[in-house]
């Protein structure tokens, strides 16, 4: 049997509660700091503007392109290579009075006069109003997902579990956002989708541990709550790591083979998965203790005996 993790005894995670909380707090504060001071590098999806991707037959004359476009009156233009020397990304801000749709044509006209061997691979134009709406909807989706998860977990477990899981998750989200802000990676709609997927995914982790805690509360009658949590984390550890490895394999495949379009999406997922492991184990569970989880919270009253419950209270 190939095993990476075989622990004879429960690892005393909870004893290190202070250390882990400090680490979390530090990364959290760092992320908030990065968000405040650097701000997210929002893509056109949210700010409005035009992004064009063009492909040249030979290596693209970046400087000439920049000058040519500036000559048409767009001063805040960003021109850069991406992927290869032939592919060029051109980013233009919204301009008052110029009909949105004309921008890409105008630029292509300019580029073609310089070098005829240029073809348009992609244009994204988003109007200011639409960008604002996409931004608001994104925020709303984030809140809705968090609320939905809290309600479900509160219903299925108990409010302490729900809040702990939600806090652990938002901790992940803030860290992803913080890293995106710190490194000034482009934040667009697909990254937002990735973050929302991570919300669902990483709560998954917390749920698996919680499930085990609930079960242990019923079976491990003589142990303290911290011991129970330690045991739950230790026994699910192997599964946590294996699952994350396989999901991460898929995401890495996306990062390597998916090209530019999926790059930041996969990046957001990668960060999310990494911190997902950490937060579900070492943020959500200490929070449970902090909220004062007691055995009584999870044991049904005598009158509500579950069908098939054996003498020691376990359910098989």
């Amino acid at each position: 049997m190939l095993e990476f993790f075989h622990f004879k005894k429960a690892i005393p995670f909870m004893r290190h509660g202070k250390t882990t909380t400090t680490i979390s707090l530090a990364t959290f504060v760092f992320s908030v700091f990065a968000l405040l001071f650097y701000g997210l590098n929002l893509g056109v999806d949210f700010t409005g503007g035009t992004v064009m991707e063009v492909r040249y037959a030979q290596a693209a004359p970046i400087d000439n392109i920049r000058e040519a476009i500036k000559a048409t009156g767009y001063h805040e233009v960003a021109v850069q290579n991406f992927g290869s020397t032939q592919d060029v990304l051109i980013r233009l801000p919204l301009k008052e009075g110029v009909s949105s749709a004309q921008v890409s044509e105008q630029i292509m006209g300019v580029l073609k006069t310089g070098t005829p061997d240029v073809s348009l691979s992609k244009v994204d134009f988003v109007g200011g109003q639409v960008g604002q709406e996409l931004y608001e909807n994104g925020g709303l989706a984030l809140i809705l997902v968090a609320a939905g998860i809290i309600i479900y977990l509160a219903f299925r477990f108990e409010w302490r579990f729900a809040v702990s899981a939600a806090v652990a998750n938002l901790h992940d989200v803030v860290i992803i956002l913080g890293l995106f802000a710190f490194f000034q990676w482009q934040f667009d709609l697909t990254v937002l989708a990735g973050i929302l997927a991570i919300l669902g995914y990483s709560v998954n982790e917390s749920v698996v541990v919680f499930d085990r805690i609930r079960e242990n509360i019923r079976t491990m009658r003589d142990d303290t709550i911290p011991d129970i949590i330690d045991s739950a984390i230790t026994t699910t550890m192997s599964r946590t790591i294996i699952t994350h490895i396989s999901t991460q394999i898929m995401v890495l495949a996306m990062l390597w083979f998916g090209g530019e379009a999926l790059h930041n999406f996969a990046l957001a997922l990668t960060i999310g998965i990494m911190f997902g492991i950490y937060s579900s184990v070492l943020v959500a569970s200490p929070l449970l203790l902090l909220f004062g989880l007691q055995r009584e919270h999870m044991i049904p009253k005598e009158s509500e005996k579950i069908e098939g419950m054996s003498a020691d209270g376990s359910v098989v």
Binding site: S121, L144, A197, N204, S238, A253, W256
Partner: protein, 607 residues
């Protein structure tokens, strides 16, 4: 049971793996069905150019010709446009090469999104403010005509903000005007009297406001649809979004500049008398129109001669709606404004019993490259959309009858309105993906799925051995299920959708890991293999449900609030969770039973 579901899964996912073939699609411009005789005409046109048709089909509404390669396809499209382009919309298409028996089971491949096949996506916003402005200006004009007609004296009528303010000398004439006006415009306007004055203020009612918006939107959708047909796009999407936006998706369109030009055309209408003394067919043959006349084409493509003099232009039309006349025949009711009515009444009075044609004119600005320079030229297309006999002198309200069907009446009404007051539309979002980019995106999406899957399988087999293999097969089956489900609901596959598939496959393995770990744990605790398997599956089930449902919640929120690419991702995510819950538990359990089930005294299992 599982075998049947598996078979269904395979059948419905398989069509996605057939390559698509270049094809040309034809459909009638005037909604005529395509009969075998017409099909023969198409075939002759193609054979005349020496082009070989690989296959053809006709479902009455659309004819489809498949060709060997894109080269032949382009030539065929040119040939067909030249031969029957007047009557039919000729569009390039990529037709799936799914075998007939699969198609008869309704097993069709998914649509490919614009990011995978190339094309344009526009989000257009109707300028509602402009639509309202026009309406208010119009009321201002109408009030003058109306009060003059009713012989009610006023001092002045002017627009004030979003209202029309009429000033009167005394309260008595004001009251008379109010009574008459509110009678006339009961449904559309609200009248108020400013305190202590002899004025009358009219504002558009809430209901009427909504109507104007609905009207402006509907009208723009109609014109856009008509123009898109002209572009020759095989599967265009033109949809309302929200209260003031229209989504236009043109898959496969490469020339976005041309698309924008055609979509941004302005339409006008002209009423002209028909030249009944000369023969139109003869004029067309000689290529020369008689003096004072001009050759036009009807929608069916046949020529018609119209007098050069314009009786009336569409600017004067306030409203056009379809309905029925007194004899219950389909009709279009047209309302003109004051100026238009008096002019129209004069010319129709002079020309009773004569034929009148309605010309629909579209003007578009085209930019062409001449000597390496961009030159903007405007071009117009003109088409006679209706010919009717003037029965009597016509006034403010009149109707056009002699229409074949209520549908034709509806179409005509929409076109008449389109030529009348068009609220301007602006493009507020554009996403264009070139065709090579689309192909690359498919490749990349597919590759990341493939390599990711292979790596996961390797990992699982090394780590869990036989159970790893079972999990991997379950994962593959899950992939098939997901594809089948997406094909059944005819979802549109996009690049984020492909990413969603990869992600769900990665996450789907979680259920199997949970089960396998549980079985190992039971074995460690000293349970016999059979018991360990049973307990493992049972105990893992609750956890699987909980953890998947939370992800499902995230997926649903994404679907509800996401737009475009996010929605595609959300659909895949949600369906993927459902299929993975099924395959991870049921399918893998069945396989475990198959492998180990027949051994009652199992000593050792490979996990």
């Amino acid at each position: 049971m599982i075998a049947v579901i598996l078979l269904v899964g395979v059948i419905y996912s398989v069509p996605n793996f057939f390559p698509s073939e270049p094809a040309v699609q034809l459909s009638s411009k005037v909604d005529k069905t395509i009969d075998p005789a017409t099909m023969q005409r198409f075939e002759q046109a193609l054979q005349a150019k020496g082009l070989t048709i690989r296959a053809s089909e006709n479902n009455g509404q659309q004819a489809l010709f498949r060709f060997e390669d894109t080269d032949v396809q382009l030539k065929a499209s040119e040939a067909l446009k030249a031969a029957v382009g007047d009557e039919f919309i000729v569009a390039l298409n990529l037709a799936p090469s799914t075998p007939g028996w699969l198609r008869s089971l309704n097993a069709n491949p998914m649509f490919l999104g614009l990011d995978l096949r190339g094309g344009v996506h526009f989000l257009m916003e109707v300028d509602m403010k402009a639509a309202l402005d026009k309406q208010i200006d119009r009321y201002e004009d109408e009030f003058r005509d109306f009060l003059r007609e009713k012989d009610i004296k006023y001092l002045g009528i002017a627009r004030e903000g979003d209202t029309v303010l009429a000033k009167f000398r005394d309260a008595a004439s004001r009251d008379a005007a109010q009574a008459a006006l509110s009678d006339e415009y009961r449904d559309n306007l609200q009248f108020t009297v400013p305190q202590g004055s002899t004025d009358l203020q009219a504002s558009i009612s809430q209901v009427a406001m909504l109507n104007i918006q609905k009207f402006a939107l509907q009208q723009n959708i109609t014109t856009l649809r008509k123009r898109v047909n002209e572009l020759g796009v095989s599967e265009p999407v033109i949809q309302q979004q929200g209260t003031n936006r229209i989504v236009v998706q043109l898959p496969g369109v490469q020339d976005t500049a041309r698309a924008k030009e055609i979509l941004g055309a302005t339409a006008t209408l002209e009423f002209r008398l028909v030249d009944e003394t000369n023969d139109a067919a003869q004029a067309q043959q000689s290529g020369r129109a008689p003096i004072g006349s001009q050759i036009y084409k009807e929608r069916s493509g046949s020529p018609i001669l119209l007098k050069r003099q314009v009786m009336l232009t569409g600017d004067y039309i306030i409203d056009a709606s379809s309905g029925f006349d007194d004899n219950n025949r389909p009709a279009v009711h047209i309302t003109l404004d004051g100026k238009g009515a008096s002019r129209f009444s004069k010319v129709t009075g002079e020309n009773q019993k004569k034929l009148m044609g309605v010309v629909f004119i579209e003007t578009k600005i085209e930019s062409k490259e001449i000597d390496g320079k961009q030159v903007k030229t405007s071009s117009t297309t003109q088409e006679v959309i209706n010919v009717a006999r003037i029965q009597e002198q016509l006034g403010k309200r009149f109707q056009i009858t002699g229409l074949d069907s209520p549908k034709e009446a509806r179409d005509l009404a929409l076109l008449l309105r389109a030529g009348a007051l068009a609220a301007p539309v602006y493009i507020v979002e554009e996403r264009t993906v070139g065709p090579s980019m689309g192909k690359e995106n498919i490749e990349k999406g597919f590759n990341s799925n493939l390599w990711g899957f292979i790596a996961v399988v390797l990992f699982m087999v090394i780590y869990y051995r036989v159970f790893g293999m079972i999990s991997s097969v379950a994962l593959a089956i899950n992939g098939f299920f997901l594809f089948a489900l997406l094909s059944m609901i005819q979802a549109t596959l996009t690049l984020p959708g492909l990413a969603g598939i990869a992600l769900t496959l990665g996450m789907a393995i979680d259920a199997n890991v949970l089960i396998n770990e549980r079985i190992r744990e039971e074995l460690r605790a000293g349970a016999s293999p059979q018991v360990a398997i049973n307990v493992g599956y049972d105990r893992a089930w609750g956890t699987i449900i909980d953890s998947n449902l939370t992800t499902l919640i995230a997926g649903i929120a994404l679907f509800l609030l996401g737009s475009g690419p996010i929605k595609g991702f959300a659909v895949v995510l949600c369906l993927g969770i459902l299929t993975s819950m099924f395959s991870a538990v049921t399918v893998s359990r069945a396989m475990v039973n198959l492998v180990y089930g027949y051994k009652p005294h199992l000593q050792k299992i490979e996990i």
